[in-house]
Amino acid sequence: MAVRLRAVAVLGVLLAVLSMGCSAKKKGAAAGAPGGGVGEEGLAAGSSLERYKQGTLGTGEEGPLKDIYFAFDSAELDEQARSILRDDASWLKDHSKAKVEIEGHCDERGTVEYNLALGTKRAGAAKEYVVALGISADRLTTISYGEELPLCHEHNEECWQKNRRAHFVILGE
């Protein structure tokens, strides 16, 4: 039984890899991202998911676009977040070909599904603000990772605060 199931799982993974290969190709073509942006497994090279897979999440992803932070169970932008987003928007104005994926993240508290929805809200709030500052919505995509990819792993507020973030990944310039 175990053997059969393993064979079946391997087949499943193969199929998944094949289908990922296809979608990555399509996606790359559609986005017109020259040469980069979309990694060989269909992941944005610098995405938090890809970094987690590589074991490099939380190390050196500081780029020109800065993260913003949220209160518990909130997707509201405070003054500090808006200030950072204004800087991010002005960088995007200066780099008019850059496309960006905005990731919404949550701390570990609460429910996996609710936090995935909350992360969507957080990424969406950041996107909306940057669009309101004149950046074309076509250049901005969003994705939620909920509480799945924390930067900090201790169970205290200092740590949680770092995890409730919207993170910007530059897909290509």
């Binding site: 979608s23 169970d73 609460g110 929805a117």
Partner: protein, 437 residues
Amino acid sequence: MRRMWWTLLVISLVMAGVRASDAQVRGTIFGPGARSYPVAVSPLRNLSAGGAAANFGTQFADIVSADLNLSGFFKLLDRAAYIEKPETSGYTADNINFDNWSVIGALALVKGAYSVSGDNVTAEVRLFDVYQRRQLAGVRYHGPLGELRRMANKFADEIMKQFTGERGPFDTRFAFVSTRGGKFKELYVMSPDGGDLQEVTRTQTINVSPSWSPDSHLLLYTSYKRRNPDLFVVDLASGRDVLVSSRPGLNLGGRFSPDGSKIALTIEDKGNADIAVVDRGGNLLRRVTDSWAIDVSPSWSPDGRRLAFTSNRSGAPQIYIVGVDGGETRRVTFSGTYNTSPAWSPKGDWIAYVSRADGGFNLFIVKVDGSDTRQLTQAAGNNEDPSWAPDGRYIVFSSSRTGRKKLFVTDLTGASQVQLTRGGGDDSSPAWSRWLE
């Protein structure tokens, strides 16, 4: 999986004229959590020539014991205290020395015998009332040796029926996600006794929210393996894995309707989570909610006409009920500022949910009309992800009370909370299947 080709035959109920209602002790005398009813589950006697499949009888007893321990009704007597040797003693009412069992405090006794022929086994298992010195139930199983676990789980269900009037919830499976195999949450399934663990996915990406089809053959789950959180369905027997919904953004928390014809899930619209119902191919049938607020985690009523879900439309997450085909939306929870993860009980009477209370996250149940709120866990880490047993008497959930997240089973009073999984990694998002046949 072999389950599909199961040829196990429950050949006969060796009833000896005893009906469930004749059992000496019923649910009114003791409840789960009381652990008041001492039972001895003796290894089955091996009648095979040459001692083939020598471990079968002990494994059978181990599985039945694990199931009964989960129920909270029984106190399992230590095998070291047994006077009789299972390999030589009698196993029918007229040749068991009941004094050997009453003297060690047993009120109920499980005994039996098995013989192996090729890859098949025939097992005859009986439940006795030690005090009245008579048989309460007897079942003869015949099937492949590999069906050991199902035979034992079925007999545990039968024991529960004899003592409580209702079949037990053990001839079932749990699905859950775990990081035991690496850094990512992958899907696993497991028998309620903790055995027969199988890895369903090895995707090396985020997988969340497994849930069963009503026939217990399929698992819905959300995976990032195509980069976006898409909804997939995997057939456990064939391993066939099919993309169901890949709308941009969330395709989250899919749940089959009770008749299996539809799937409720959370989708994303204009950057916000809403509840929708799709057909089995992922085609939109109905938008159930369309609000500016987060609407997430749908759970079907047993009649398939309503959905419980989480919404923060009041400013913080609370549990609501809405008609699948429209109609008014009604709020169910009013105490607490963070209530999520509704799970509608299979009998239709309760909704289990998670509330931020007492400095952590705890399990509650509330009547569907919003009355009679009961807290099942407290002061024991975070307790989340409730999923109902098919008999409506138990809930499996995840708890961090021992450090990492592990699976536990509770009764509806919280008095009996039994740990199911151990070891490394986090186990979470358990889903309890229906009965397997």
